[in-house]
């Protein structure tokens, strides 16, 4: 079986600085992988490169998504093929209602896949259903995208999009940042509801806390642009006790 995501010896530069120095990992359908590591270890860079954010130069290695060369695809093409990035800091788009944004995005993806666009009633029914499951009032969807949303609302909006688009690879970049414990639980429940055998998740986080709610199958520790240790969920607990310092030495 082809892996869902294969990152092989990935090397990435930003301007003159190399951030990733040969990163390798394989993610299969149905798995949840956690990537942990201190600030500056390259976790967010990895998520950005997979999603295709401009400004990063891949100088070596490759990324295969369902066996296809991901780096050859435009970022919107990757989205249509099922790559979803839940942003650490979702942006605000004034004047564009969340509802309009969701519909434009979902239809753009469907169109790119050669599927018919959603009819308005079908779309509304779908959104209502998903929003209710995430405790998102419909009023919130009439506001500008993320404009004036609280931290919790922004993250729930990310999960809402994930649920609507049904991507096969979800990358959650520091989903716990800026969330109190209740908001975190709501968002995590939303994510857990999306776990399925044909979908994989890569959860990027500093803290073990999030992994109490979204329990991973695999944990990778990153330091200085490399994966320095991989293991099961118990590795996260170990880290909580001993910290990252030992790995920083190992990477050096």
């Amino acid at each position: 079986m082809t892996a869902l995501l294969e990152v092989k010896d990935l090397q990435v530069r930003v301007e003159d600085r190399e951030i990733l120095h040969g990163l390798t990992m394989t993610v299969n359908g149905g798995e949840v992988h956690a990537i942990m590591g201190p600030n500056g270890s390259g976790k967010s860079t990895l998520s950005h490169v997979i999603a295709g954010k401009p400004g990063y130069e891949v100088t070596g290695g490759e990324i295969l998504f369902k066996g296809e060369d991901l780096l050859e695809m435009e970022p919107d093409e990757r989205a249509a093929k099922g790559v979803f990035l839940a942003f650490q800091y979702p942006v605000e788009i004034p004047g564009v209602t969340t509802m309009n944004f969701l519909r434009t995005a979902v239809n753009a993806q469907r169109k790119a896949r050669g599927e018919s666009e959603y009819l308005v009633p079908d779309f509304l029914r779908k959104v209502r259903e998903v929003a209710a499951s995430l405790n998102i009032p419909m009023d919130m969807l009439k506001r500008g995208v993320n404009v004036g949303f609280s931290g919790g609302e922004k993250k729930r909006n990310e999960v809402l999009q994930m649920a609507l688009f049904q991507p096969s690879l979800c990358i959650l970049d520091e989903m716990d940042s800026g969330l109190d414990i209740d908001a975190l639980r709501v968002a995590a429940d939303g994510v857990n509801a999306l776990r399925s055998p044909d979908r994989a998740m890569v959860v990027i986080t500093h803290y073990q806390r999030l992994l109490n709610y979204i329990v991973p199958d695999h944990v990778h520790v990153m330091s200085k642009g490399r994966v320095v240790k991989s293991g099961g969920k118990e590795l996260a607990l170990e880290l909580e006790e001993s910290g990252y310092a030992q790995y920083e030495d190992a990477a050096a």
Partner: protein
């Protein structure tokens, strides 16, 4: 390549190909001799069978114009215009006297059809499938210097509304024209307004009698076709006591290498409790990607809230013209009167826009609101210039102004030049201004959700201008939204 850089590059490629209205209609026309003199003025007046008083009015304006100088204060640059190298009058050569729409030159009908303007009432009624509740629109079509057709005249007449070419109004309703023409924009007002007063050839005239709510939207569609021709239209709209009218104006021109001059004057008058809503979607040819060609749009638009509790609202979507010099203004003379100005000005390529408004508060408890959205891309310069002033007697005058500018790329400029004068201590004027660049992060967020680069820019820009789009009549808003995407995106058609 960075997303914004790509947008910038794409925007840079925008060329004449993107201008959908750039075709020329081949038609025989009748022109005044080139150049400007008293004879030109007499020629135009004679062509229009005007009464002597009108000719005198024009000549007086012409003599005054000779003593005036071109204004230089706007932030626009262009080579000196040779006013003797222009045709001041051009009319499609009539095959015979036009009695009905069937006798209009089919080439002209075809032109308006291509532009999506129905001139046949039958077409207007039965044409496309019309969404429920959509209003019908009466159209006055101005082709170069003359009005070629005005639809729905009968139905409007029943309501008591006069909607006709101004050249006809001068002959048929001289008392109304005499009473109001030049009372809002005097013949001596400014260089281009004075020139217009001397040589204007056609335009629309609207009179809505007391207490009448005009039963449909009125619209004028301006088309410059002939080469080296200036278009000088004159529009006069009067809403008598308690009347209401909504008026739309659209403009296009063929693409040509040389610049063409458009110097219009629009005067609005509202008496007690009356309201005029004036909307413009201006899409004159903007010139090609090297800045060659395009229309010089030097326009004077002003409304006079002459009566108490009256209201004038300007909404404009400016996407075309090589140079725009335009300040639709309101004189708030009547007590409790209200002026509004909503503007979207988009500039791209080498376009130069210097536009804004004047709100002149004279009466008590007068209020005004200015919402201006400027979007600059390419190598364009986009300036908002506005004046808000309260006279000594304008007790409790209120103004709120918000000017937002959005920059796309790093070779364009946005400028805000507000003038604020308050001579009455009870005045309350508020001014807000922001300038932002279209953000790389916002674009990437949209693209990560599956939108293409161009869809993302279109979405963000339409969000930026939303407050103003909402002011447009429904049919126009949809059209304007599309136009905004076309103006900015290059490859999306």
């Amino acid at each position: 390549m960075a997303a914004v850089q790509e947008t910038v590059d794409r925007v840079r490629q925008i060329d004449v190909d993107q201008y959908r209205y750039g075709f020329e209609t081949i038609i025989e026309s009748e022109k005044a001799p080139k150049g400007l003199s008293e004879d030109t003025v007499r020629y135009i007046s004679a062509k229009k069978n005007e009464p002597a008083w009108m000719l005198e009015w024009r000549l007086e304006a012409y003599r005054r114009w000779l003593t005036m100088e071109e204004p230089k204060w706007a932030r626009v640059e262009y080579p000196k215009i040779d006013f003797q190298d222009l045709y001041y009058y051009s009319a499609p050569k009539p095959k015979k006297t036009i009695g009905s729409i069937d006798e209009i030159d089919p080439e002209i009908l075809e032109t308006y059809k291509k532009l999506g303007i129905p001139l046949r009432e039958i077409e207007a009624l039965e044409g496309v499938v019309r969404p429920e509740g959509e209003r019908r629109i009466a159209v006055d079509a101005v082709f170069d210097s003359v009005s070629v057709a005005t639809t729905f005249q009968k139905e409007l007449k029943q309501a008591g509304v006069i909607f006709m070419p101004i050249s006809e109004a001068i002959r048929e309703h001289p008392e109304l024209v005499k009473q109001y023409l030049g009372t809002v924009v005097p013949t001596s007002d400014n260089f281009y307004a004075t020139l217009n007063s001397a040589v204007f050839s056609d335009g629309s005239f609207v009179y809505v009698p007391p207490g009448v709510r005009c039963p449909m939207e009125l619209s004028t569609y301006f088309r410059i076709n002939e080469r080296n021709t200036g278009q000088f239209e004159r529009t006069l709209i009067i809403a008598d006591k308690g009347a209401y009218v909504s008026y739309l104006e659209g403009c296009t021109a063929p693409q040509r290498d040389e610049n063409q001059l458009h110097a219009a004057v629009v005067e609005l008058v509202t008496l007690d409790d009356a309201e005029i809503k004036y909307s413009t979607v201006q899409n004159w040819y903007p010139g090609n990607s090297e800045g060659k060609g395009g229309i010089y749009n030097f326009v004077t638009k002003r409304g006079d809230c002459r009566g108490d509790n009256s209201k004038i609202s300007w909404t404009q979507v400016e996407t075309g013209s090589a140079i725009t010099w335009k300040y639709p203004s309101c004189i708030l003379r009547g007590d409790n009167s209200r002026g509004e100005f909503y503007s979207i000005a988009i500039s791209n390529g080498y376009q130069q826009v210097d536009s804004g408004t004047k709100m002149i508060h004279l009466g008590k408890n007068t209020t005004s609101r200015i919402i201006s959205k400027g979007i600059a891309a390419g190598k364009s310069q986009n300036t908002y210039r506005g004046l808000v002033t309260a006279h000594r007697k304008a007790t409790n005058a209120r103004n709120f102004t918000a000017c937002d500018s959005l920059l796309i790329g790093d070779q364009c400029g946005a400028h805000t030049v507000p003038y604020i004068e308050a001579k009455n201590a009870s005045t309350l004027f508020e001014h807000e201004a922001t300038t932002s660049k279209i953000s790389e992060d916002v674009l990437f967020y949209c693209i990560q959700r599956g939108l293409s680069q161009e869809e993302a820019v279109g979405l963000v820009v339409n969000g930026f201008v939303k407050d103003v789009l909402q002011q447009l009549p429904m049919e126009f808003a949809v059209e304007a939204q599309k136009l905004i995407s076309i103006s900015l995106e290059g490859s999306v058609g």
